[in-house]
């Protein structure tokens, strides 16, 4: 019990105290941050070892508040909390040397710690009111972890908080309806069907909350904008890892505990999942800003998790959750590598980068591992979770509902999404690390120890999770939540890994053997001319054609006009209303008096006659 309290209130308390320390003492704050997040990691291990059950916290002298302070420590929340602790620590380590720039966010470490505490609060709280309280604080810290130093970044911050705040408001409504329907607002006591108007509204409202946090379509549009301008550690910490963990955690709670999914709900979730996978990855393909590209991938991967959880079977949910953990790992890692690249080069456009692999070998290695993981290449972890999702979909096809009959559609789209992910990551890796070095990049060095260490740790975890998925990871982490899993297919990850390793070694030997013979090295013959800069094709140009493809270009043009951005759609609608009402207020006093009299008369007429 006491561990749980430490977990929530220690970071929040220290975070508030850190406000007092002046900004000039940033390194000290960073060390504090690291110590606290280390302690939190320790406590999250302790909590992970705890027995499951509902805990009721005493709140000083207020018995009526204690009634609400119920914390649900079950396998799901323990799992999520453990990973929050891990990520909190790793990113704190990374921040230590990353957050020194001029444009660093004010109060970064305070908000970092408050985020950490609030995330634990949201994960463990059983009462929906307490949950929404912590959930909302996460939106606030998300807003404060980006600095509005120019037009674009302030717009991103604004957009983020508006969308998150929107989801919170809708969530409040959903919680209100749930309370009304179930007579209780403890998640562990609620279990209702998604039938009836109210039930459906409540279900949708809760979904909005979870989707916006996780960044699923159509509420995704804050993610790419946010990650483009935020410090990379903020992006890695919140949109890439914690928000995914929490959003999907809540989705699992919704689908598994709070509601019983009916056919249409499953179908809807699957459609959203598929659209998110494909739509976001298509957007990612044409990005030139690598942070924004990663942002769209952060959206795209949510689609897999939603698909997995929507299946409703233990296998599907396990797949969704495993993918969530994997995604948090490699996406967080990718943002860290992106941050490293940005810190060393100061550029965030793929066109201006290239050939960094020699100068930043460790970062390159980590980025490569993450890119292969996210693209679902065996034996990395991304492959295993995607494979589980495919298994789940195939298994799902045995059912009788409409969604079940369409299983082949979901499967195709999921596989297609995976292929497109690979395509766009080839672009990223090639654009940043391989290819010809652009001007002005000669003096780039590897990042400092504190920055590459977290990247490498995460990369090793990614590999480890991939290799030992079936043997260790799933049984210890996921199966306590979902129960024993039956796989439809067979995947021996260790033996496959060994095979792959052997093939890599053999390939390397062949490469060495080839290099041992002393070849004559000369420029390729191109008609006697010298190699020009222009003849060296950038890998990025291949992707231009996608944009011009006839069918797709229509969508891309619309996307550029922000037709698919729910934020901009509503913004223009509301501004239109605003214009009309503004015209009515023309400052002419007699008109105002007339309104007064007219209002009076209308009220009289309505009420009396």
């Amino acid at each position: 019990m006491i561990n749980l309290q430490y977990l929530m209130f220690l970071p929040i308390g220290i975070g508030i105290i850190l406000f007092i320390i002046p900004e000039s003492l940033k390194p000290i704050k960073g060390v504090f941050n690291l110590l606290v997040s280390g302690a939190v990691l320790y406590f999250s291990f302790l909590v992970f070892k705890m027995n499951s059950g509902l805990l009721n916290m005493e709140c000083f002298k207020f018995p009526s508040v204690s009634k609400y302070l119920i914390f649900n420590v079950d396998n799901l929340s323990k799992l999520i909390a453990l990973f929050i602790g891990i990520f909190g620590f790793l990113f704190a380590l990374y921040s230590l040397s990353y957050i020194t720039k001029e444009k660093a966010v004010k109060g970064y470490y305070s908000y970092y710690l408050i985020t950490l505490g609030a995330a634990f609060g949201a994960v463990f709280s059983d009462n929906l009111i307490i949950f929404i309280f912590f959930w909302g604080i996460l939106g606030l810290t998300l807003y404060k972890l980006i600095k509005g130093y120019d037009e674009e970044s302030s717009s991103a911050a604004k957009k983020t908080l508006v969308l998150i705040g929107m989801s919170d408001s809708v969530l409040i409504m959903g919680i209100g309806i749930l309370w009304q329907l179930a007579g209780s607002c403890n998640m562990s006591e609620i279990n209702i069907a998604t039938t009836g108007t109210l039930g459906i509204i409540a279900f949708l409202a809760l979904l909005v909350g979870s989707f916006t946090k996780a960044g699923a379509m159509p509420f995704h549009s804050w993610v790419p904008d946010y990650v483009k301008k935020a410090p990379a550690s903020s992006s890695a910490f919140l949109p890439a890892s914690l928000d995914k963990l929490l959003g999907i955690y809540f989705l699992v709670r919704i689908c598994k505990d709070i509601f019983q999914l009916t056919d249409w709900a499953t179908l809807m979730l699957l459609i959203i999942g598929a659209v998110t996978i494909i739509g976001a990855v298509m957007m990612a393909l044409v990005q030139h800003n690598y942070k924004k590209l990663l942002g769209y991938h952060a959206v795209s991967q949510v689609g897999y998790m939603i698909t997995g959880i929507a299946l409703g079977s233990p296998l599907g949910i396990a797949a969704g959750m495993f993918h969530m953990i994997n995604n948090a790992l490699y996406k967080g890692g990718l943002f860290l590598t992106a941050g490293s690249v940005e810190k060393r080069t100061g550029k965030d456009n793929l066109d201006e980068l290239g050939g960094l692999s020699k100068m930043m070998p460790l970062t390159f290695f980590a980025a490569l591992v993450f890119a292969l993981s996210i693209s679902g290449i065996p034996p990395f972890n991304g492959f295993f979770s995607k494979w589980m999702i495919y298994q789940g979909i195939i298994d799902f096809g045995n059912g009788t509902g409409l969604a079940n009959k369409l299983w082949i559609v979901w499967l195709t789209l999921a596989v297609l999404g995976s292929a497109l992910t690979l395509a766009s990551f080839i672009k990223l890796i090639a654009g940043i690390y391989l290819g010809r070095r652009n001007k002005g990049l000669e003096k780039v060095k590897e990042v400092s120890f504190l920055m590459w260490l977290p990247q490498i740790i995460i990369a090793i975890v990614c590999i480890g999770f991939g290799i030992f998925a079936a043997k260790l990871v799933i049984p210890y982490l996921i199966e306590p939540v979902t129960g024993k899993l039956d796989y439809v297919g067979i995947w021996q990850s260790q033996s496959v890994s060994i095979l792959i390793l052997v093939s890599i070694v053999v390939g390397f030997l062949i490469y060495l053997y080839g290099n041992m013979k002393n070849h004559r090295v000369s420029d390729s013959f191109i008609g006697g001319e010298k190699i020009q800069e222009e003849t060296n094709f950038s890998p990025l140009d291949f992707y231009q054609t996608i944009k011009n493809f006839k069918f797709l270009s229509f969508f891309y043009k619309k996307a550029e006009k922000k037709w698919f951005d729910i934020y901009d759609v509503f913004k223009s609608m509301i501004l239109w209303f605003n214009k009309i009402f503004s015209l009515a207020h023309n400052g002419f006093l007699p008109r105002y008096v007339l309104w007064y009299v007219a209002g009076l008369l209308i009220l009289l007429i309505i009420l009396i006659f």
């Binding site: 207020h585 002419f588 006093l589 007699p590 008096v593 009299v597």
Partner: protein, 112 residues
Amino acid sequence: MIIYLLCFILFLVGLYGVISKRNLIKIIISIAIMEYSINLFFILIGYVEGGTAPIITKGFENAKFVDPLPQAMILTSIVIGLATTALLLAVAIRIYQKYGTFDINKIKDLKG
């Protein structure tokens, strides 16, 4: 009854003035007219058929008095009206200084 109606019509006259007149001073006068109509209304509701002024003097201790309360209220409301009108006029004069006109059509900088 007819007198109440007349009183109400006076109120409407004032309201019409506020809505239709463009001159600040005329608007102020219209408000004053509305005020007087309300004052009149108060006096009327306090009236008792055949009543005398509500002043207790010798020999009139138990006479039939009109209701004194509305008169007290009227007195207060007249004072308030005085203050309102004075302030309105003061502001109107100042507006004239700044805008150079009494025309409400031209005094609409604040809008939207």
